[in-house]
């Protein structure tokens, strides 16, 4: 449930060596905003280190977290394909390092480097593929079952992610999350 892309991470590291002059690296502190909903950025980002959350703030004050991402995942690539502001905000959950590939270079790589092109295709396909079972499971099973599933996928989630983020990921209020956690505690250990 914290998504990663080892192949793209590996490719990014070769980029850092070969094309060092054309890319940049930025560091973000915990809770810092990496991208803001509606804003534009002249680059595509790839996470080199750390955990980010990708989320949407609704007009009524609620937030919904799309996914947690770590090494090798792209951010801001959708805006390369369709100009217009970012759909989601992205913020650092732990200290984060981002590799920034300017749109100009991204386009060249996409058009000339078949390997890179395929990595991006697969990365997009992966994001589509992942969302289907996640949302199906989320609406089909109880909150308790969803929490158990997070624990299976990422045992440390309660230690690493703030409660508020977990609630926003599961699409429930913090109160409901606490209640469900208590129920689970009473049932097993």
């Amino acid at each position: 449930m914290i998504r990663t892309n080892p192949k793209l991470l590996a490719y990014s590291k070769t980029l850092l060596e070969k094309d060092r002059a054309q890319v940049s690296v930025t560091h973000y502190k915990r809770k810092e905003e990496i991208m803001g909903q509606g804003h534009r950025y002249p680059y595509v980002g790839i996470i080199i280190k750390g955990i980010v959350k990708c989320f949407i703030n609704e007009a009524n004050g609620k937030a919904f977290i799309q996914e947690f991402m770590t090494e090798g995942m792209e951010v801001g690539e959708l805006e390369f394909f369709e100009k217009g502001g970012a759909t989601c905000s992205v913020a650092a959950v732990t200290p984060v390092t981002i590799l920034e590939i300017p749109h100009q270079l991204f386009k060249i790589l996409l058009d000339k480097e078949l390997t890179f092109n395929r990595l991006i295709l697969e990365s997009l396909a992966d994001k589509v593929r992942y969302k289907a079972p996640r949302h199906a499971f989320q609406t089909s099973y109880s909150l308790e079952r969803n929490i158990e599933k997070m624990g299976e996928l990422y045992p440390d989630f309660l230690k690493v992610l703030p409660k508020g983020d977990i609630a926003n990921y599961l699409g429930v209020s913090a109160r409901s999350l606490n209640r469900a956690l208590k129920t689970l505690r009473e049932e097993h250990g």
Copy 2:
């Protein structure tokens, strides 16, 4: 909320003329299964006509509809990139016509035709982009508000889509959907 892809539809029509010998066209009746969760198909499909639903059946008997799709939308493209069974089932909601592009041809087009490659990249980016606001809205607002939104996006949805499908799209029981529809009827006209 019934998704379409005019550019890919246009491209598909030229494919039907130029490469007619290498592609095929299949018709499906209402409710017929086009793809089954877990199964494999040696082609990528593009909808030429009709409306399909793309959904996941969970082990507990519940179904969750990912999206409704019509002209120009792809089905089964995820399985081209990662071998393995289909994540979702696809079924015809109205009579449907599908253009089938064999994986072998799909690969050639992807590698040699920059235009096609870009269309597929944009199509995938579109699917990712679309899901974020949809699920955010769905979990952030009341059922009534979600129904109103469907009406704004597709005024005829109650006439075209079965109630059960609408409920499975919104992630609620048929009972709750009916209740909410009644409330809306009482409020306005």
